[in-house]
Protein backbone atom coordinates (compact mmCIF):
# COMPACT_ATOMS: atom_id res chain seq x y z
CA UNK A 1 0.00 0.00 0.00
CA UNK A 2 1.46 3.35 -1.03
CA UNK A 3 0.87 4.95 2.31
CA UNK A 4 3.03 2.42 4.06
CA UNK A 5 6.15 3.29 2.06
CA UNK A 6 6.70 6.64 3.75
CA UNK A 7 6.91 5.93 7.47
CA UNK A 8 5.84 9.45 8.30
CA UNK A 9 2.71 9.31 6.16
CA UNK A 10 0.41 7.56 8.61
CA UNK A 11 1.25 9.67 11.67
CA UNK A 12 0.87 12.82 9.57
CA UNK A 13 -2.51 11.72 8.31
CA UNK A 14 -3.64 10.89 11.82
CA UNK A 15 -2.47 14.29 13.07
CA UNK A 16 -4.26 16.06 10.24
CA UNK A 17 -7.46 14.17 10.98
CA UNK A 18 -7.16 15.08 14.64
CA UNK A 19 -6.64 18.74 13.81
CA UNK A 20 -9.70 18.82 11.58
CA UNK A 21 -11.74 17.00 14.22
CA UNK A 22 -10.80 19.65 16.77
CA UNK A 23 -11.28 22.55 14.40
CA UNK A 24 -14.97 22.07 13.66
CA UNK A 25 -16.26 22.17 17.25
CA UNK A 26 -13.92 25.08 17.92
CA UNK A 27 -15.42 27.04 15.07
CA UNK A 28 -18.87 26.32 16.39
CA UNK A 29 -18.01 27.22 19.99
CA UNK A 30 -16.48 30.48 18.89
CA UNK A 31 -19.60 31.20 16.82
CA UNK A 32 -17.33 31.80 13.89
CA UNK A 33 -19.40 33.69 11.36
CA UNK A 34 -17.52 36.02 9.02
CA UNK A 35 -20.80 36.88 7.34
CA UNK A 36 -21.80 38.75 10.48
CA UNK A 37 -19.21 41.39 9.59
CA UNK A 38 -21.10 42.17 6.43
CA UNK A 39 -24.50 42.31 8.11
CA UNK A 40 -25.70 45.88 7.53
CA UNK A 41 -26.93 46.17 11.11
CA UNK A 42 -23.29 45.86 12.22
CA UNK A 43 -21.46 47.15 9.20
CA UNK A 44 -23.16 50.48 8.89
CA UNK A 45 -22.56 51.87 12.41
CA UNK A 46 -19.04 50.40 12.31
CA UNK A 47 -18.24 52.08 9.01
CA UNK A 48 -19.66 55.34 10.30
CA UNK A 49 -17.57 55.02 13.45
CA UNK A 50 -14.39 54.35 11.51
CA UNK A 51 -15.10 57.22 9.15
CA UNK A 52 -15.14 59.60 12.11
CA UNK A 53 -11.50 58.79 12.80
CA UNK A 54 -10.51 61.39 10.28
CA UNK A 55 -10.29 64.09 11.42
CA UNK A 56 -9.63 63.25 15.07
CA UNK A 57 -11.06 65.41 17.84
CA UNK A 58 -8.56 68.18 18.59
CA UNK A 59 -10.65 70.81 20.38
CA UNK A 60 -8.81 72.46 23.23
CA UNK A 61 -11.17 71.24 25.95
CA UNK A 62 -10.97 67.70 24.78
CA UNK A 63 -7.21 67.80 24.55
CA UNK A 64 -7.09 69.22 28.07
CA UNK A 65 -9.33 66.39 29.24
CA UNK A 66 -7.11 63.84 27.53
CA UNK A 67 -4.04 65.50 29.05
CA UNK A 68 -5.48 65.20 32.56
CA UNK A 69 -6.45 61.59 31.90
CA UNK A 70 -2.91 60.84 30.71
CA UNK A 71 -1.41 62.28 33.88
CA UNK A 72 -3.89 60.22 35.85
CA UNK A 73 -2.78 57.08 34.02
CA UNK A 74 0.88 57.85 34.71
CA UNK A 75 0.08 58.45 38.36
CA UNK A 76 -1.81 55.16 38.61
CA UNK A 77 1.07 53.29 37.00
CA UNK A 78 3.70 54.89 39.26
CA UNK A 79 1.78 54.52 42.50
CA UNK A 80 0.68 51.03 41.55
CA UNK A 81 4.22 49.91 40.84
CA UNK A 82 5.42 51.43 44.11
CA UNK A 83 2.70 49.60 45.99
CA UNK A 84 3.54 46.41 44.14
CA UNK A 85 7.12 46.84 45.27
CA UNK A 86 5.95 47.29 48.85
CA UNK A 87 4.14 43.96 48.61
CA UNK A 88 6.52 42.04 46.37
CA UNK A 89 9.76 42.83 48.13
CA UNK A 90 8.84 41.34 51.52
CA UNK A 91 7.22 38.37 49.83
CA UNK A 92 10.37 37.74 47.84
CA UNK A 93 12.44 37.76 51.00
CA UNK A 94 10.27 35.18 52.66
CA UNK A 95 10.06 33.01 49.58
CA UNK A 96 13.70 33.11 48.68
CA UNK A 97 15.71 33.79 51.78
CA UNK A 98 14.78 30.41 53.07
CA UNK A 99 15.73 28.83 49.75
CA UNK A 100 19.08 30.25 48.90
CA UNK A 101 20.27 30.50 52.44
CA UNK A 102 18.82 27.34 53.86
CA UNK A 103 21.40 25.47 51.86
CA UNK A 104 24.02 27.17 54.00
CA UNK A 105 22.73 25.70 57.20
CA UNK A 106 19.56 25.46 59.20
CA UNK A 107 18.29 28.63 60.85
CA UNK A 108 17.33 28.73 64.46
CA UNK A 109 13.67 28.88 63.60
CA UNK A 110 13.89 26.60 60.59
CA UNK A 111 10.54 24.85 61.01
CA UNK A 112 8.75 28.21 61.13
CA UNK A 113 10.52 29.36 58.02
CA UNK A 114 9.68 26.19 56.21
CA UNK A 115 6.08 26.55 57.27
CA UNK A 116 6.04 30.07 55.89
CA UNK A 117 7.86 29.34 52.67
CA UNK A 118 5.23 27.24 50.92
CA UNK A 119 2.26 29.49 51.63
CA UNK A 120 4.34 32.43 50.47
CA UNK A 121 5.19 30.76 47.18
CA UNK A 122 1.58 29.63 46.78
CA UNK A 123 0.39 33.17 47.40
CA UNK A 124 2.78 34.41 44.74
CA UNK A 125 1.56 31.85 42.21
CA UNK A 126 -2.10 32.64 42.80
CA UNK A 127 -1.50 36.37 42.66
CA UNK A 128 0.31 36.01 39.37
CA UNK A 129 -2.13 33.65 37.71
CA UNK A 130 -5.18 35.91 38.00
CA UNK A 131 -5.09 38.42 35.17
CA UNK A 132 -4.70 42.00 36.38
CA UNK A 133 -7.86 42.91 34.57
CA UNK A 134 -9.81 40.56 36.82
CA UNK A 135 -8.30 42.27 39.84
CA UNK A 136 -9.26 45.60 38.32
CA UNK A 137 -12.86 44.53 37.90
CA UNK A 138 -12.97 43.14 41.44
CA UNK A 139 -11.62 46.34 42.93
CA UNK A 140 -13.92 48.50 40.84
CA UNK A 141 -16.80 46.56 42.34
CA UNK A 142 -15.29 46.76 45.81
CA UNK A 143 -14.11 50.38 46.03
CA UNK A 144 -16.00 51.98 43.17
CA UNK A 145 -15.01 53.51 39.86
CA UNK A 146 -11.83 55.52 39.68
CA UNK A 147 -8.07 55.37 40.02
CA UNK A 148 -7.99 53.71 43.44
CA UNK A 149 -9.23 50.48 41.92
CA UNK A 150 -6.44 50.64 39.36
CA UNK A 151 -3.74 51.28 41.93
CA UNK A 152 -4.91 48.44 44.14
CA UNK A 153 -5.24 46.04 41.21
CA UNK A 154 -1.71 46.83 40.05
CA UNK A 155 -0.41 46.47 43.57
CA UNK A 156 -1.81 42.97 43.94
CA UNK A 157 -1.17 41.63 40.44
CA UNK A 158 2.29 43.10 40.03
CA UNK A 159 3.17 42.44 43.65
CA UNK A 160 3.08 38.75 42.93
CA UNK A 161 5.05 39.15 39.72
CA UNK A 162 7.74 41.29 41.35
CA UNK A 163 7.95 38.90 44.27
CA UNK A 164 8.61 35.90 42.09
CA UNK A 165 11.13 37.58 39.82
CA UNK A 166 12.97 39.15 42.73
CA UNK A 167 13.27 35.74 44.35
CA UNK A 168 14.68 34.31 41.15
CA UNK A 169 17.17 37.18 40.87
CA UNK A 170 18.40 36.56 44.41
CA UNK A 171 18.95 32.92 43.64
CA UNK A 172 20.76 33.47 40.40
CA UNK A 173 22.76 36.59 41.08
CA UNK A 174 24.05 36.43 44.56
CA UNK A 175 24.73 33.06 46.03
CA UNK A 176 28.46 33.33 46.38
CA UNK A 177 28.82 36.65 48.24
CA UNK A 178 26.17 35.54 50.72
CA UNK A 179 27.83 32.20 51.21
CA UNK A 180 31.17 33.86 51.78
CA UNK A 181 29.73 36.19 54.38
CA UNK A 182 27.94 33.36 56.17
CA UNK A 183 31.11 31.33 56.29
CA UNK A 184 32.84 34.35 57.79
CA UNK A 185 30.28 34.25 60.57
CA UNK A 186 27.61 36.76 59.57
CA UNK A 187 23.98 36.17 60.52
CA UNK A 188 21.44 35.21 57.86
CA UNK A 189 19.86 38.66 57.61
CA UNK A 190 23.22 40.37 57.50
CA UNK A 191 24.43 38.00 54.83
CA UNK A 192 21.38 38.89 52.84
CA UNK A 193 21.66 42.63 53.24
CA UNK A 194 25.38 42.85 52.59
CA UNK A 195 25.85 39.92 50.27
CA UNK A 196 22.77 39.34 48.18
CA UNK A 197 21.31 42.82 47.86
CA UNK A 198 24.27 44.73 46.46
CA UNK A 199 24.91 42.04 43.84
CA UNK A 200 21.27 41.77 42.83
CA UNK A 201 20.39 45.47 42.97
CA UNK A 202 21.05 46.39 39.31
CA UNK A 203 18.88 43.58 38.00
CA UNK A 204 16.16 44.33 40.55
CA UNK A 205 16.04 47.96 39.50
CA UNK A 206 16.06 47.13 35.82
CA UNK A 207 13.17 44.71 36.13
CA UNK A 208 11.16 47.12 38.27
CA UNK A 209 11.50 49.86 35.68
CA UNK A 210 10.43 47.43 33.00
CA UNK A 211 7.39 46.56 35.09
CA UNK A 212 6.56 50.27 35.37
CA UNK A 213 6.50 50.46 31.62
CA UNK A 214 4.11 47.51 31.47
CA UNK A 215 2.07 49.18 34.21
CA UNK A 216 1.49 52.21 32.01
CA UNK A 217 -0.01 50.00 29.36
CA UNK A 218 -1.95 47.97 31.90
CA UNK A 219 -3.35 51.11 33.52
CA UNK A 220 -4.95 52.13 30.27
CA UNK A 221 -6.44 48.70 29.82
CA UNK A 222 -7.72 48.59 33.38
CA UNK A 223 -9.22 52.01 32.89
CA UNK A 224 -11.40 50.37 30.32
CA UNK A 225 -13.30 48.56 33.04
CA UNK A 226 -13.57 51.69 35.15
CA UNK A 227 -10.26 52.13 36.88
CA UNK A 228 -9.68 55.69 35.76
CA UNK A 229 -7.24 57.38 33.43
CA UNK A 230 -7.01 57.29 29.67
CA UNK A 231 -8.70 53.91 29.42
CA UNK A 232 -11.85 55.07 31.12
CA UNK A 233 -12.09 58.01 28.72
CA UNK A 234 -11.62 55.67 25.76
CA UNK A 235 -14.40 53.43 27.01
CA UNK A 236 -16.71 56.42 27.30
CA UNK A 237 -15.94 57.59 23.79
CA UNK A 238 -16.46 54.11 22.40
CA UNK A 239 -19.75 53.75 24.18
CA UNK A 240 -20.88 57.07 22.70
CA UNK A 241 -19.73 55.83 19.30
CA UNK A 242 -17.66 59.00 18.99
CA UNK A 243 -15.00 57.99 16.48
CA UNK A 244 -13.20 61.33 16.49
CA UNK A 245 -12.60 61.26 20.23
CA UNK A 246 -11.63 57.59 20.12
CA UNK A 247 -9.07 58.30 17.40
CA UNK A 248 -7.44 61.06 19.45
CA UNK A 249 -7.28 58.94 22.56
CA UNK A 250 -5.81 55.98 20.65
CA UNK A 251 -3.16 58.23 19.14
CA UNK A 252 -2.29 59.67 22.54
CA UNK A 253 -2.16 56.15 23.96
CA UNK A 254 0.30 54.97 21.36
CA UNK A 255 2.42 58.07 21.94
CA UNK A 256 2.33 57.44 25.68
CA UNK A 257 3.45 53.84 25.25
CA UNK A 258 6.31 54.96 23.01
CA UNK A 259 7.43 57.61 25.51
CA UNK A 260 7.21 55.22 28.43
CA UNK A 261 9.25 52.73 26.41
CA UNK A 262 11.92 55.34 25.71
CA UNK A 263 11.99 56.65 29.27
CA UNK A 264 12.31 53.14 30.63
CA UNK A 265 15.15 52.28 28.25
CA UNK A 266 16.91 55.54 29.12
CA UNK A 267 16.54 55.00 32.85
CA UNK A 268 17.83 51.46 32.62
CA UNK A 269 20.83 52.57 30.60
CA UNK A 270 21.64 55.34 33.04
CA UNK A 271 21.54 52.98 35.96
CA UNK A 272 23.43 50.16 34.30
Amino acid sequence: MRLARDPAALPRLALAALAVAALLPALRLAEFDPAALLDPANARPMAKFLAQFVPPEVSVEFLALVGRATLETLAIATLGTAAAFAIGFPLSLVASASLSLSALGPARDAPLRRALRYPARLALIVLRAIPELVWALLFVRAVGLGPSAGVLALAIAYGGMLGKVYAEIYESAAERPARALMEAGAGRLQAFAYGVLPAAAPELVSYTIYRWECAVRASVIMGFVGAGGLGQQLELSLRMLNGAEAATILAVFMLLVLLADAASALARRMLA
Binding site: R5, D6, P7, A8, A9, R12
Partner: protein, 289 residues
Amino acid sequence: MKPAKAAEVVPARAAAGAFALRARELSLTYAGGRRALERLVLSVRPGERVAIIGPSGAGKTSLLRVLATALRASAGDVEVLGVDPWRLGAGARRRLRSRIGLIHQSPPLPPRQRVVTAVLAGRLGAWGVGNALASLAYPADIDGARAALERLELADRLFERCDRLSGGQAQRVGIARVLYQRPELVLADEPVSSLDPALANHTVGALASEALERGITLVASLHAVDLALAHFPRIVGLREGAVAFDLPTAEVGRALLEALYAQEGVLPTQECRPVDLAELTLPGRPRCD
Protein backbone atom coordinates in the same frame (compact mmCIF):
# COMPACT_ATOMS: atom_id res chain seq x y z
CA MET B 1 39.98 0.95 -10.82
CA LYS B 2 39.10 2.97 -13.85
CA PRO B 3 41.99 3.67 -16.19
CA ALA B 4 43.35 7.16 -15.88
CA LYS B 5 42.54 8.00 -19.42
CA ALA B 6 39.16 7.07 -20.89
CA ALA B 7 37.62 7.75 -24.25
CA GLU B 8 35.78 11.00 -24.14
CA VAL B 9 32.11 10.69 -24.87
CA VAL B 10 30.52 13.58 -26.67
CA PRO B 11 26.76 13.50 -26.24
CA ALA B 12 24.78 13.67 -29.45
CA ARG B 13 22.81 16.69 -28.44
CA ALA B 14 25.82 18.98 -28.22
CA ALA B 15 26.75 20.59 -31.47
CA ALA B 16 30.23 19.77 -32.63
CA GLY B 17 32.66 22.48 -31.53
CA ALA B 18 30.32 23.87 -28.87
CA PHE B 19 31.68 24.38 -25.38
CA ALA B 20 29.99 23.35 -22.17
CA LEU B 21 31.95 25.97 -20.30
CA ARG B 22 34.01 28.88 -21.46
CA ALA B 23 35.67 31.46 -19.24
CA ARG B 24 37.63 34.32 -20.77
CA GLU B 25 39.70 36.76 -18.74
CA LEU B 26 37.54 35.98 -15.74
CA SER B 27 38.26 38.19 -12.76
CA LEU B 28 36.54 38.25 -9.41
CA THR B 29 37.12 40.66 -6.58
CA TYR B 30 35.13 40.27 -3.38
CA ALA B 31 33.58 43.21 -1.53
CA GLY B 32 36.43 43.44 0.95
CA GLY B 33 38.97 43.80 -1.83
CA ARG B 34 40.14 40.21 -1.92
CA ARG B 35 40.98 39.19 -5.48
CA ALA B 36 39.84 35.62 -5.95
CA LEU B 37 40.23 35.18 -9.70
CA GLU B 38 42.73 36.93 -11.96
CA ARG B 39 41.97 36.91 -15.67
CA LEU B 40 41.29 33.22 -15.67
CA VAL B 41 40.88 31.36 -18.95
CA LEU B 42 39.26 27.95 -19.17
CA SER B 43 37.34 25.95 -21.75
CA VAL B 44 35.58 22.66 -21.22
CA ARG B 45 33.90 20.64 -23.91
CA PRO B 46 30.66 18.78 -23.33
CA GLY B 47 31.18 15.41 -21.70
CA GLU B 48 34.67 16.14 -20.41
CA ARG B 49 35.72 15.26 -16.90
CA VAL B 50 38.06 17.83 -15.41
CA ALA B 51 39.62 18.00 -11.95
CA ILE B 52 40.71 21.32 -10.49
CA ILE B 53 43.47 21.21 -7.92
CA GLY B 54 45.46 23.84 -6.12
CA PRO B 55 46.48 25.14 -2.71
CA SER B 56 43.97 26.69 -0.29
CA GLY B 57 42.87 30.13 -1.38
CA ALA B 58 43.71 29.46 -5.01
CA GLY B 59 40.16 30.31 -6.05
CA LYS B 60 38.69 26.86 -6.69
CA THR B 61 35.43 27.55 -4.87
CA SER B 62 35.09 31.00 -6.36
CA LEU B 63 35.61 29.66 -9.86
CA LEU B 64 32.99 26.96 -9.45
CA ARG B 65 30.48 29.40 -8.01
CA VAL B 66 30.96 31.77 -10.93
CA LEU B 67 30.57 28.89 -13.38
CA ALA B 68 27.40 27.80 -11.59
CA THR B 69 25.99 31.34 -11.98
CA ALA B 70 25.81 31.64 -8.21
CA LEU B 71 28.24 34.54 -8.36
CA ARG B 72 28.76 37.22 -10.94
CA ALA B 73 32.30 37.91 -12.09
CA SER B 74 33.74 41.41 -11.72
CA ALA B 75 35.26 41.33 -15.17
CA GLY B 76 35.53 39.01 -18.14
CA ASP B 77 33.10 36.67 -19.88
CA VAL B 78 31.65 33.41 -18.91
CA GLU B 79 29.57 31.13 -21.11
CA VAL B 80 27.73 28.23 -19.59
CA LEU B 81 26.16 25.59 -21.84
CA GLY B 82 26.63 27.94 -24.74
CA VAL B 83 25.02 31.10 -23.34
CA ASP B 84 26.08 34.06 -21.24
CA PRO B 85 23.87 33.56 -18.18
CA TRP B 86 23.83 37.22 -17.25
CA ARG B 87 22.37 38.28 -20.57
CA LEU B 88 19.34 36.11 -19.97
CA GLY B 89 16.07 37.14 -18.36
CA ALA B 90 15.33 35.77 -14.93
CA GLY B 91 13.10 32.97 -16.21
CA ALA B 92 15.61 31.80 -18.81
CA ARG B 93 18.39 31.92 -16.25
CA ARG B 94 16.33 29.80 -13.90
CA ARG B 95 15.87 27.23 -16.63
CA LEU B 96 19.59 27.32 -17.38
CA ARG B 97 20.35 26.77 -13.71
CA SER B 98 18.18 23.67 -13.61
CA ARG B 99 20.58 22.18 -16.14
CA ILE B 100 23.56 22.90 -13.89
CA GLY B 101 24.20 20.94 -10.71
CA LEU B 102 26.42 22.51 -8.05
CA ILE B 103 27.71 20.17 -5.35
CA HIS B 104 28.62 22.15 -2.23
CA GLN B 105 31.48 21.28 0.04
CA SER B 106 29.10 21.46 2.96
CA PRO B 107 25.58 21.31 1.60
CA PRO B 108 23.17 23.74 3.29
CA LEU B 109 20.55 21.16 4.21
CA PRO B 110 17.75 22.35 6.53
CA PRO B 111 18.34 20.48 9.79
CA ARG B 112 14.84 19.16 10.32
CA GLN B 113 14.22 18.21 6.72
CA ARG B 114 14.25 14.53 5.85
CA VAL B 115 16.84 13.14 3.46
CA VAL B 116 14.19 12.05 0.95
CA THR B 117 12.81 15.60 0.69
CA ALA B 118 16.30 17.08 0.46
CA VAL B 119 17.18 14.78 -2.42
CA LEU B 120 13.91 15.31 -4.27
CA ALA B 121 14.49 19.07 -4.03
CA GLY B 122 16.98 18.62 -6.85
CA ARG B 123 14.19 18.55 -9.41
CA LEU B 124 12.24 21.55 -8.12
CA GLY B 125 13.35 23.37 -11.23
CA ALA B 126 11.47 20.88 -13.39
CA TRP B 127 8.39 20.31 -11.22
CA GLY B 128 5.56 22.81 -11.07
CA VAL B 129 4.84 24.60 -7.82
CA GLY B 130 1.80 22.38 -7.24
CA ASN B 131 3.82 19.18 -7.45
CA ALA B 132 6.50 20.68 -5.26
CA LEU B 133 4.02 21.49 -2.50
CA ALA B 134 2.26 18.13 -2.83
CA SER B 135 5.58 16.35 -2.49
CA LEU B 136 6.03 17.99 0.91
CA ALA B 137 2.96 16.17 2.15
CA TYR B 138 3.92 12.86 0.57
CA PRO B 139 7.23 12.39 -1.30
CA ALA B 140 6.52 12.20 -5.02
CA ASP B 141 9.32 9.87 -6.10
CA ILE B 142 10.62 7.73 -3.26
CA ASP B 143 12.15 5.21 -5.67
CA GLY B 144 14.07 7.87 -7.57
CA ALA B 145 15.49 9.29 -4.38
CA ARG B 146 16.43 5.85 -3.17
CA ALA B 147 18.22 5.04 -6.42
CA ALA B 148 20.27 8.24 -6.18
CA LEU B 149 21.24 7.43 -2.59
CA GLU B 150 22.11 3.82 -3.39
CA ARG B 151 24.96 4.87 -5.65
CA LEU B 152 26.40 6.61 -2.58
CA GLU B 153 25.79 3.77 -0.13
CA LEU B 154 23.24 5.84 1.75
CA ALA B 155 19.90 4.25 0.85
CA ASP B 156 19.20 3.17 4.42
CA ARG B 157 19.06 6.83 5.54
CA LEU B 158 16.21 7.69 3.22
CA PHE B 159 13.78 8.87 5.90
CA GLU B 160 16.30 10.21 8.38
CA ARG B 161 16.40 13.85 9.41
CA CYS B 162 19.33 15.77 7.96
CA ASP B 163 20.59 16.93 11.33
CA ARG B 164 21.03 13.28 12.37
CA LEU B 165 23.63 12.72 9.65
CA SER B 166 27.37 12.89 10.05
CA GLY B 167 29.34 15.40 8.00
CA GLY B 168 30.27 12.80 5.44
CA GLN B 169 26.72 11.54 5.12
CA ALA B 170 25.41 15.08 4.65
CA GLN B 171 27.98 15.66 1.95
CA ARG B 172 26.78 12.54 0.15
CA VAL B 173 23.16 13.66 0.38
CA GLY B 174 24.22 16.84 -1.39
CA ILE B 175 25.76 14.73 -4.13
CA ALA B 176 22.65 12.54 -4.35
CA ARG B 177 20.52 15.64 -4.80
CA VAL B 178 22.57 16.68 -7.80
CA LEU B 179 22.52 13.15 -9.20
CA TYR B 180 18.73 13.15 -8.89
CA GLN B 181 18.62 16.50 -10.64
CA ARG B 182 20.10 14.91 -13.81
CA PRO B 183 21.87 18.06 -14.96
CA GLU B 184 23.98 18.34 -18.10
CA LEU B 185 26.80 19.99 -16.19
CA VAL B 186 28.01 19.07 -12.72
CA LEU B 187 30.27 21.43 -10.79
CA ALA B 188 31.56 19.78 -7.62
CA ASP B 189 33.29 21.81 -4.90
CA GLU B 190 35.42 19.45 -2.80
CA PRO B 191 32.62 16.86 -2.80
CA VAL B 192 34.37 14.27 -0.65
CA SER B 193 36.31 16.40 1.83
CA SER B 194 34.48 14.85 4.81
CA LEU B 195 34.74 11.23 3.72
CA ASP B 196 37.26 8.64 4.81
CA PRO B 197 39.79 7.61 2.14
CA ALA B 198 38.09 4.41 0.92
CA LEU B 199 34.64 5.99 0.78
CA ALA B 200 36.03 9.12 -0.86
CA ASN B 201 37.67 7.07 -3.54
CA HIS B 202 34.49 5.09 -4.12
CA THR B 203 32.35 8.24 -4.26
CA VAL B 204 34.57 10.11 -6.68
CA GLY B 205 34.67 6.98 -8.78
CA ALA B 206 30.88 6.77 -8.76
CA LEU B 207 30.60 10.42 -9.73
CA ALA B 208 33.10 10.08 -12.56
CA SER B 209 31.54 6.91 -13.95
CA GLU B 210 28.05 8.42 -13.76
CA ALA B 211 29.36 11.38 -15.75
CA LEU B 212 30.96 9.04 -18.27
CA GLU B 213 27.80 6.94 -18.72
CA ARG B 214 25.44 9.84 -19.17
CA GLY B 215 27.76 12.16 -21.04
CA ILE B 216 27.61 14.72 -18.26
CA THR B 217 30.26 17.42 -18.18
CA LEU B 218 31.97 17.13 -14.81
CA VAL B 219 34.24 19.76 -13.25
CA ALA B 220 35.35 18.88 -9.74
CA SER B 221 37.69 20.68 -7.40
CA LEU B 222 39.57 18.27 -5.19
CA HIS B 223 41.88 18.77 -2.29
CA ALA B 224 43.42 15.30 -2.58
CA VAL B 225 45.75 15.19 -5.53
CA ASP B 226 45.80 11.42 -5.72
CA LEU B 227 42.02 11.27 -6.20
CA ALA B 228 42.27 13.79 -9.02
CA LEU B 229 45.01 11.88 -10.73
CA ALA B 230 43.16 8.59 -10.34
CA HIS B 231 39.75 9.44 -11.73
CA PHE B 232 40.07 12.36 -14.12
CA PRO B 233 41.62 12.48 -17.57
CA ARG B 234 42.32 16.22 -17.41
CA ILE B 235 43.82 18.24 -14.58
CA VAL B 236 43.70 22.00 -14.20
CA GLY B 237 46.04 23.48 -11.62
CA LEU B 238 44.87 26.73 -10.05
CA ARG B 239 47.14 29.10 -8.23
CA GLU B 240 46.40 32.58 -6.95
CA GLY B 241 43.26 32.90 -9.03
CA ALA B 242 44.73 31.91 -12.38
CA VAL B 243 45.36 28.70 -14.28
CA ALA B 244 48.87 27.42 -13.57
CA PHE B 245 48.56 24.46 -15.91
CA ASP B 246 45.86 22.65 -17.87
CA LEU B 247 46.97 19.24 -19.07
CA PRO B 248 45.95 15.65 -19.63
CA THR B 249 46.69 13.62 -16.51
CA ALA B 250 49.59 11.69 -17.98
CA GLU B 251 51.51 14.89 -18.58
CA VAL B 252 51.16 16.12 -15.01
CA GLY B 253 54.55 15.54 -13.49
CA ARG B 254 56.14 15.93 -10.14
CA ALA B 255 57.73 19.24 -10.92
CA LEU B 256 54.45 20.81 -11.90
CA LEU B 257 52.77 19.65 -8.70
CA GLU B 258 55.68 20.83 -6.63
CA ALA B 259 55.47 24.27 -8.12
CA LEU B 260 51.72 24.38 -7.60
CA TYR B 261 51.86 23.51 -3.92
CA ALA B 262 55.17 25.24 -3.30
CA GLN B 263 53.84 27.26 -0.40
CA GLU B 264 52.37 24.30 1.39
CA GLY B 265 55.54 22.29 0.95
CA VAL B 266 53.77 18.97 0.77
CA LEU B 267 51.11 17.50 -1.44
CA PRO B 268 47.71 16.96 0.12
CA THR B 269 46.29 13.50 -0.27
CA GLN B 270 43.14 11.81 0.84
CA GLU B 271 44.60 10.28 3.96
CA CYS B 272 44.84 13.74 5.51
CA ARG B 273 48.45 13.07 6.21
CA PRO B 274 50.44 15.32 3.93
CA VAL B 275 52.67 13.14 1.86
CA ASP B 276 56.16 13.94 0.78
CA LEU B 277 56.53 14.33 -2.96
CA ALA B 278 59.01 11.50 -3.16
CA GLU B 279 56.49 9.05 -1.75
CA LEU B 280 53.76 9.89 -4.18
CA THR B 281 53.71 7.42 -7.04
CA LEU B 282 52.79 8.90 -10.36
CA PRO B 283 50.97 8.85 -12.61
CA GLY B 284 47.48 8.16 -11.39
CA ARG B 285 47.99 5.24 -9.08
CA PRO B 286 45.80 5.86 -6.03
CA ARG B 287 47.17 5.34 -2.56
CA CYS B 288 44.11 3.55 -1.34
CA ASP B 289 43.14 0.24 -2.93
